[in-house]
Each structure stands twice: as C-alpha cells, then as structure tokens.
C-alpha cells in the first residue's frame, strides 16, 4: 500500500518539477512564449471533451495504428522469410537497412509526388518508416529461439502450423511486445510529419494551425494529446506483457 503510493510519487515527481519550472517561467516571461500551466491543462481537457476536436486526436491515433499494423504484418512475413532462407536474407536485409537511413521527411516528399489521397500517403509513410525496425526486431526474436526447445518440439514431429503455434509464437511474443513499444514512440513522432502531406485533420494539422495562430498554449495542448496517447497505449502493452509473460520467474534480488 505505502510502496504503491511511493511508486506513484516517484513516477510523477519529475513531471511535477517540470510543471513548476514552466509555471515560474510563465510568471516572468511573456505568456505567449510560456503560457501558464493551468491554461495548458484546461486547453488539453477542452480538446478531449470537445467532439469536433477529439475527432482529430482519434484520426491521428487511427493513422498510427494503421501504420503500425501494416508494418507489423509485413515485417512479420519478411522476418519469417528471412529466418527460413539465407538467400532471401541477403536479398532483403540490405534494402531494409537502406530504408532505415531515409528520413521521414523524404518519405513525405516521395509520397506527395507518387500518390494521391491523404490517407494512403500517410499510411505509406508510416509503414515505410517503421517497417525496417519491426522486421529486424521480429527476426531477432525468431533467432533467439532455443535450439533445445526446437529439437524437443521437432521430436514430436509437428506440422509447420503446429510448430508455429506451439513454439514460434510463444518464443517471439516478448520480442514482438517490445517491438510494438519501441515503434509506437517512433510512429507517434513520424505521424505528425506524415500529416503534412495535406491532411485536413489530425494532430499534425492542428499543430500547424497553432503555429499560424501563434498560439503556444494550443501547441502544447495538441502535443500533450500525442504524449497521452502514447502513454495510454504503452500502459496497455505493459499490461498485456505482464499477463503474457506471467510465467517468467522473478528473482528476489534486483540487478
């Protein structure tokens, strides 16, 4: 009981300190540079409770999920292919590494030149920017499979599908959950850039508007929407992780 209160305090102390510093700055500097904390909070809540504004948040959330799901599915297929064939690895890996070096903004430019339709452009950008990391992380998870467990399972001579369900999936679940957490952060940062392709809605669009209006409190409030979104999804993944990996032994000693 006490320790859980302590944990909450520890987790929020840094944020509270940040808010206090900001508040002090807002009292000494012009408010259009540093709007007071209460105003930021009320603007943030306003977005959440105003249907027409909340739609923008949900739209961006949907774009993030769409991109991540696309990249996850394609990445998982690529990783399985690479894991099964050295030739395919030699073929695919360098291309993915090459993609990894391309900035998100370049994909934005390519998407605008190549495609019509905002949603397709955004989806394309989201997938291209998160696909390499997803593929490499899933591949890594597959390769970390224990040879002992693999041979034990193979001694029962399962079909490919059974092997996949009974051994490969449980082996790669921890890696996949980690990959989702990492890529979620990346995707949340890329999505606002992707929304510059001419989206007429979404957090990126709203941020651009706040810039034109020179509204710092608004810019903060819209930024916080994304941060909150990432936090909520991270916590959800953490909860799934705790449940899926409940079999893991925990030492009484810490590292």
């Amino acid at each position: 009981m006490n320790s859980s209160i302590a944990r909450v305090l520890q987790a929020t102390a840094g944020m509270i300190l940040l808010a206090v510093i900001w508040q002090i700055l807002s009292m000494t500097l012009p408010p259009f540079l540093f709007p007071p904390v209460p105003e930021i909070i009320s603007r943030t809540i306003e977005i959440l409770i105003t249907g027409s504004l909340l739609v923008d948040v949900l739209l961006t959330a949907a774009r993030i999920f769409g991109g991540l799901f696309g990249a996850f599915i394609i990445g998982a297929i690529l990783a399985l292919l690479i894991a099964r064939s050295k030739t395919l690895e030699n073929f695919i890996s360098p291309v993915l590494t090459f993609f990894q070096g391309i900035p998100a903004l370049s994909w934005v430019v390519f998407a605008i030149i190549w495609f019509h339709g905002t949603e397709f452009r955004v989806l394309f950008i989201m997938i291209m920017t998160t696909l390499p990391a997803f593929t490499f992380q899933i591949l890594d998870a597959i390769r970390s499979m224990s040879k002992d467990l693999f041979e034990m399972t193979m001694s029962f001579r399962p079909s490919r599908w059974t092997l996949f369900r009974f051994l490969i999936v449980p082996t790669i679940v921890p890696g996949i959950l980690t990959a989702w957490k990492v890529n979620l952060g990346n995707a949340a940062r890329v999505v606002v850039v992707a929304e510059l392709v001419g989206a007429t809605g979404g957090v990126g669009y709203q941020l651009l508007r706040q810039q034109q209006l020179f509204d710092m409190a608004g810019a903060m409030a819209w930024t916080l929407q994304l941060v909150l979104f990432v936090l909520v999804v991270q916590q959800t993944i953490n909860a799934i992780e705790a449940w899926a990996l409940r079999y893991r032994p925990v030492s009484e000693r810490s590292i």
Partner: protein, 256 residues
C-alpha cells in the same frame, strides 16, 4: 531374433565441423548395432563419447554424415511425418517450455497428435500422478525442482505412448529411492506394452538392472563391449560382467 530390428545402425559416422574451422570432429565412428522389438538396451560410455548424438540420429534430429540409420526400416531424418507419435524421447536436460505449466508441458505431444482434449488432459494428469507430481499440474517449470522437472519431461515422453522410447539419463537428477521406484516402473511399462527402449546411463548398476542388453561405447562412439543379461543370469556372472564393464571403461579413460 528373426524379425526385422526396430533400430539398425550400419557404420554410422557423425562428424561435426570444428568452430575454428580446423577440420572435423568425429563424435560417432562407424557405429553398428541392432535392437529388436521389445528389447531394453542400456548404453554406457564415458562423457562425450557420442551417446546423445546417437540418440539424436535415432530421433531424426541429426543426419548421419556417413552410414545408414534405420528405425523400423525407415529413415528417421528424411521421413518426418512417418514417425509422428512413434518415438518418445526423454532428453538429458528437461527441455520444458517455460511458458507452459507442468500439465501443459505433458500435453504437448498429445496436442501434436490431435488427441481429443479431454482424453489428453486425463492421460497427462495420470502420468503426472504416476510420477508423484499430483498437485503440481498448474506449476510453471521455474517453480519446480530439478528432479520434478525431469519427471515432467519423462511424463511428456511417455504420455504419447510411443513404440520406441529413448531415455538419456532420465533418472540422474533424482534421489536413489525415487530413481529405484521409477526404474522398476519403467521396466514394467516397457515390458507390459512390448515397447522397445534405449536407455543411456552413467551408472553400471542401473544399466545392468534395466537392460536386457548392455552396450558400452568407445569414444568416439562405436561398440567397445556388449553383453546380454536376463533374470537367469547368476550373481557370480553379474559380478564378472560388472568387472568387465569397469575394465573396458577404465581402458577407455586411459586412452581418451
């Protein structure tokens, strides 16, 4: 023995590539033997002589580099589907899936065989009970002791009711009392169901107690000594066999 052997090795050689690339390492060296249906064969040999490698070949997990390994007349490495449910293996280490409970680990083979789930759970529970693990069905492997884990892995191999049982030092992690009970139970099961079993052990006593036949491996693996035992084998003869095995093993040590 007139019937075809269940397991037949003909000049089987297995070499492994050395990690530093300096040539090959011979683990099994022109090994030949036959095991008939219903036999229990105990295999003795110094550590690293290729016993587990021989098992992996029988189980179809590794392919011989040379020679021919046949199990009921078929190639265990190439004919993957043919052997489904036919060979049960108790590995040297327990190899339990950490994400499955004791019961679910025992269920693995039954699930691969698509056994009716209710029936499968009943069978698995029965095996856990037989091995003294009632009440631990829902424990994860990390919460079990080494000996308990090994017993779960024994239950997993036996639960599919395979024709051929390969046991790699299955009782080495157990105390002598438990091991003795399980040895007796093991022999009874194999006999009762007319199964064929190969049993690796480091203990001469255990080998002689369990085996109709004892094979002693040279290092690298080939037959260094072989003897047949039965209930009729007298005390004096048993002592002689024991001395012979000890002598063969100690010669092996001197030349290793």
């Amino acid at each position: 023995m007139t019937a075809d052997p269940v397991i037949r090795f003909t000049d089987v050689t297995k070499t492994f590539r050395r990690p530093d690339g300096r040539g090959d390492f011979v683990a099994v060296d022109k090994l030949s033997f036959e095991i008939a249906k219903g036999e229990i064969v105990a295999v003795l040999g110094k550590t690293g002589c290729g016993k587990s490698t021989m098992f992996n070949i029988v189980a179809g997990l590794t392919e011989p580099s040379e020679g021919e390994a046949r199990v009921v007349g078929h190639d265990p490495f190439r004919e993957f589907d043919f052997f489904r449910g036919k060979i049960g293996i108790v590995f040297q280490n327990d190899r339990l899936m950490p994400w499955r409970t004791a019961l679910d680990n025992v269920l693995l083979g039954l699930q691969v065989l698509d056994t009716d789930p209710k029936q499968a759970v009943e069978t698995a529970r029965g095996w856990l009970a037989r091995l003294g693990l009632s009440g631990h069905e829902n424990d994860y492997p990390h919460a079990l002791s080494g000996g308990m884990r090994q017993r779960v892995s024994i239950a997993r191999a036996f639960a599919v009711n395979p024709e051929i049982l390969l046991c790699d030092e299955p009782f080495s992690a157990l105390d002598e009392m438990t091991a003795r009970d399980l040895r007796a139970e093991f022999v009874r099961l194999v006999r009762q169901n007319n199964k064929t079993a190969v049993f690796i052990t480091h203990q001469i006593n255990e080998a002689m107690e369990i085996g109709d036949r004892v094979l002693v491996f040279h290092r690298p693996a080939r037959i260094a000594y072989e003897t047949r035992l039965s209930a009729a084998t007298g005390e004096a003869e048993r002592r002689k066999v024991q001395e012979d095995i000890m002598r063969v093993l100690s010669v092996e040590q001197a030349t290793a």
